[in-house]
Amino acid sequence: MSLYLEAVGFGVVAAASIAIGAMGFTLQFGLTNVLNIGYGSIMSLGGLVAYACHAAGMSIWLGLAIGGLSASAMTLLVAKTILSVFARRGAGLFEMAMITFGVSLIIEYGIASATQNNTYSLFLAVEHAMTLGPFHFTKVQLVLVGLAIAVFVVLDLFLRLTKLGLALRATAIDPDLARASGIQTNRIVTAAWLMSGFLCGLAGGVFTINILTVNAFTGDTLLSLVIVSALLGTAGSVRGAVLAALVIGIATQVASVAGASGYDSAVAYGFLALVLLARPKTLQGELVTDKAQITV
């Protein structure tokens, strides 16, 4: 029993990286409608930069921030040089997804080539786990969870209270209407890429700190859970994404305690397939849109 409780505890910590990643993904997806498979590769990037900063002597927390910033820059670069070019030429939903898949290959195998396919281990100072009721957490794990909570609060307030946040939500709901009301959608989209890119890199860094290893493909397994959470929470809803991340994080940890761990990622991917299959539905009175809008 205590094993399961501990798994719940691990789940909450795991949910931290999933939640941050899902918040970033939902920001992107809700706005642009592009299923960005390259998101995973940029999570790897964030994790590696954080690791590299730490290995060079900086504090890991500073490394996290720098990882986020690099991811932010990379995301904007990819969006402006590749994604918007093809979107403007009328690429369809699938073609955009395939483009992001190609971008993901280039980034991940590029990183792999640069790092000679190495997997790096993160060495943090050994800590004693603190006891909180039936759970055991290290200080670092608590900071990660706190970080995720802080990110959520800041993002939620930002979207609800600031002008930019409201403009973002308006553009996500109806880009044409937003543009017609005078919102500079181009700038909104740029801001969204930068912010979601930062969160993407941050998520990769948090994940790295949690599992203490990182390589070019670290983001892949995290990506499936991130997409599941973002979609379960309905695109564009930050609160939904966080809640879903919590559930998914705990569920996967408990499942791996219950069953053989070789199927961990298979289960995660299975979730993804089911979520994609289940929505969007053709509801009564609703036509499924043939051509969805891509705002990039």
Partner: protein, 341 residues
């Protein structure tokens, strides 16, 4: 040197079959089978286990052993591809899902399949995979290794010609035309009474069977088959081949099969190792991804795009390249006069 040519040619045949299978599903019918590799894989596995005999007493563990004579394993592999396509098609293609989601669902299926196979060695011997798969005719003809490779080139050529001819004929019938209609606008196709989900499943099954066929042939050539051979990214390579060569054109698909997986995949494996081990494999993926982006930017329809069907009266018809024809001077158009709008 001989090995380089013969092996490249065999792989050309395999990738041609792969590209035709995907071209039928995607180029003609618009079905985004982003998990394509799993159909090739099951064809290979089933062909393997139906030729190896039962697994008891062998160092490999797998299900469904049988010692069937040639050409039954080949047929079983083909059938397996078709059956898997039937199951997945019925589950996935009969609902309306946005195309990118559908692609990712199928991609995920191929990822899960690989992980399940690796984690459950009792199915197909896990990451070790199957080995010692009997090569067809090897006992009958007493050829050297190189000689057998040349034999296989001829064998593949015959099979490819048959499949190519069959597909070309099929895609030129009213059924082939219906595929394109469904690809272009499924709602409009439904207005004419066409059962779109059924048509999609049928195409999926045929494509799946051809994919299984290619897998069986490859497994019989290599004598082994393990999860390394069916990484989910392989699907991407076949997609790029079809995109670069020309969607909706089986000759284009053949060209793409040569240019992409053979020139950039198979041939470089003959180059001497440089950098650290694995560098050339990494670079390969990067090059193929770049090739895809560049080609899609410069020539989205591919090198040999789908040909325009030019209908003539009296039943004759011809094909022309995609350049738009300028119509001869026409009677007053049906358009509103162009006033300032």
């Amino acid at each position: 040197m001989q090995a380089f040519v013969s092996i490249s040619l065999v792989y050309l045949g395999i990738y041609a079959l792969s590209a035709w299978s995907l071209n039928l599903q995607y180029g003609y019918a618009g079905i985004i089978n982003f998990g394509w590799i799993v159909f090739q894989a099951i064809g290979a596995y089933i062909a393997g286990v139906t030729a190896l005999g039962t697994s008891s007493g062998s160092f490999q563990t797998y299900i469904l052993g049988a010692r069937l004579p040639f050409p039954l394993p080949l047929l079983m592999g083909t059938l397996a591809g078709g059956v898997l396509a039937l199951v997945l098609g019925a589950l996935i293609l009969t609902r309306r899902i946005r195309p990118d989601f559908q692609a990712v669902i199928l991609l995920v299926v191929s990822i899960i399949a690989a992980q399940v196979v690796i984690a459950t060695p009792s199915i197909f011997d896990g990451s070790n995979g199957l080995s010692n798969i009997p090569k067809p005719f090897n006992g009958a003809l007493h050829l050297s290794d190189q000689g057998y490779q040349w034999f296989y080139v001829g064998w593949m050529a015959v099979l490819c010609i048959i499949v190519f001819a069959g597909l070309q004929w099929l895609c030129r019938t009213s059924w082939g035309r219906a595929l394109k209609a469904v690809r272009e606008d499924e709602t409009l196709a439904a207005y004419s009474g066409i059962n779109v989900p059924l048509l999609r499943v049928v195409v999926f099954v045929i494509g799946g069977a051809i994919a299984g066929f290619s897998g069986a042939l490859l497994a019989e050539f290599l004598g082994t088959w393990s999860p390394d051979a069916w990484n989910f990214v392989e699907t991407f390579v076949v997609f790029v081949a079809v995109y670069v060569g020309g969607r909706g054109n089986h000759v284009g698909a053949l060209l793409g099969a040569f240019l992409v997986p053979v020139v950039f995949g198979v041939m470089p494996s003959f180059l001497p190792e440089f950098g650290y081990p694995g560098l050339s494999a990494n670079l390969e993926w990067i090059v193929i991804a770049l090739l895809w982006l560049v080609t899609f930017y410069l020539r989205p329809a591919g090198i040999l795009p789908e040909r325009r069907y030019v209908a003539k009266r009296g039943g004759a018809s011809s094909s022309a390249s995609m350049r738009p024809t300028t119509p001869s001077p026409a009677p007053p158009t049906m358009d509103e006069p162009r006033t300032a709008s």
